[in-house]
């Protein structure tokens, strides 16, 4: 049996190399990495006017040495994030399915979409739990470890966590590095001094602009890379 099946076209090294090459080509044909990055960039940019033109619900205000501090609930913004992110994941799933079907393939995007939606639910649950616990540490800010956890489970952080899953599904190191870079920006916010004199409710705009810009640039970069790499 060995003598009949191993030589020539059945050389194990060649068979394995061929199988790996075919698998790589399938993965390449399934990739639409620019789509989630572009859609999530739009969702992030869309949050800016929502924060700007909605009023947070303020309660339990206390006078401090340099003004006053209040418990704030950005009701409209939170509902925006939950709805927009779930819709975004539906659009992403539809886009991946459509592209894969047109290329004669199935898609492996479902775990990414489910993780994304699960993280939105987790983010909402953490937010609700924080309200139920009546903002522990108030009026002091929470410890930095709690703030870090909050940023990670914040909708912008949840976007980055879900992208890690997409990187694993697509076996794409570039996307993994991008997602880690994005998470670093989300977890360690960049303060360029913007927005201080922009008036009320602009406080979130600079960071959202940076996050959205990063996603947009990533989307453009992956789209260009895909055009160059796809076999003709």
């Amino acid at each position: 049996m060995t003598a009949d099946s191993v030589p020539a076209g059945g050389d194990p090294r060649r068979l394995l190399a061929d199988a790996r090459d075919l698998a790589r080509r399938v993965r390449l044909a399934q990739q639409v990495t620019w789509l989630p990055l572009l859609v999530l960039a739009l969702v992030t940019f869309g949050a800016i006017p929502v924060y700007r033109f909605s009023q947070p619900v303020l309660s339990d205000c206390q006078a401090m040495a340099d003004g006053q501090v209040c418990k704030a609930w950005y009701q409209a913004a939170q509902f925006y994030w939950w709805t927009a992110l779930v819709l975004a994941y539906v659009v992403i799933a539809g886009g991946y399915l459509r592209v894969a079907r047109a290329r004669g393939l199935g898609t492996r995007v479902l775990p990414y979409v489910l993780t994304g939606v699960a993280l939105v639910v987790l983010s909402a649950a953490v937010s609700a739990m924080w309200s139920i616990l009546d903002h522990p540490y108030y009026p002091d800010p929470p410890p930095s470890s709690v703030q870090l956890l909050f940023r990670l489970l914040d909708p912008t952080g949840a976007i980055g966590l879900a992208l890690l899953v997409l990187a694993w599904l697509e076996r794409r190191v570039e996307l993994l590095l991008f997602a880690l870079g994005y998470l670093a920006v989300v977890l360690v916010p960049i303060d360029l001094g913007w927005g201080t004199g922009w008036g009320p409710n602009w406080a979130f705009a600079p960071q959202l602009t940076i996050n959205g810009g990063l996603l947009l640039l990533g989307g453009i970069g992956f789209a260009l890379a895909q055009r160059l790499r796809r076999p003709q």
Binding site: M1, S5, L15, V26
Partner: protein, 126 residues
């Protein structure tokens, strides 16, 4: 293949050679290609397989019929608009067969490498 590295020492039991476990159904370039693509793609259309494996429709159909009869793939015919399309998915048995084949190929390569690296292996001119 039968160098010293393959000879068991006293008290050792010889493990079967990886090549003895190869399944002729899967150990064939085209059929291994079909299973690999179907595994990676979740489901794959007939035309994609034909293009990637550079086969004629008749040849591919024959290989698919063999795999379908063996229960390694499921073939589903449908329509996209007015165009007929045939989708191929890997069954659980196909998934297992593919994993076993890949495992055996890796074992076989490792065995060949070990033999070639042994004291009497490599270039006989040296």
């Amino acid at each position: 293949m039968n160098g010293p590295a393959d000879t068991p020492g006293p008290g050792e039991t010889e493990s079967p050679h990886p090549a003895t476990g190869l399944d002729d159904m899967v150990h064939q370039r085209v059929r291994l290609g079909i299973l690999t693509i179907a595994h990676e793609a979740r489901r794959v259309e007939f035309g994609y397989l034909r293009n990637q494996l550079e086969l004629t429709a008749g040849n591919l159909s024959q290989h698919l019929a063999v795999l379908e009869t063996a229960g390694l793939v499921a073939v589903e015919k449908g329509y996209a608009g007015r165009r007929g399309r045939t989708w191929i998915t890997l069954t659980a048995a196909g998934n297992t067969a593919l994993a076993e084949e890949i495992g055996r190929l890796k074992q076989l390569i490792a065995r060949v490498d070990t033999t070639e690296a042994g004291p009497s292996g490599g270039d006989p001119q040296r």
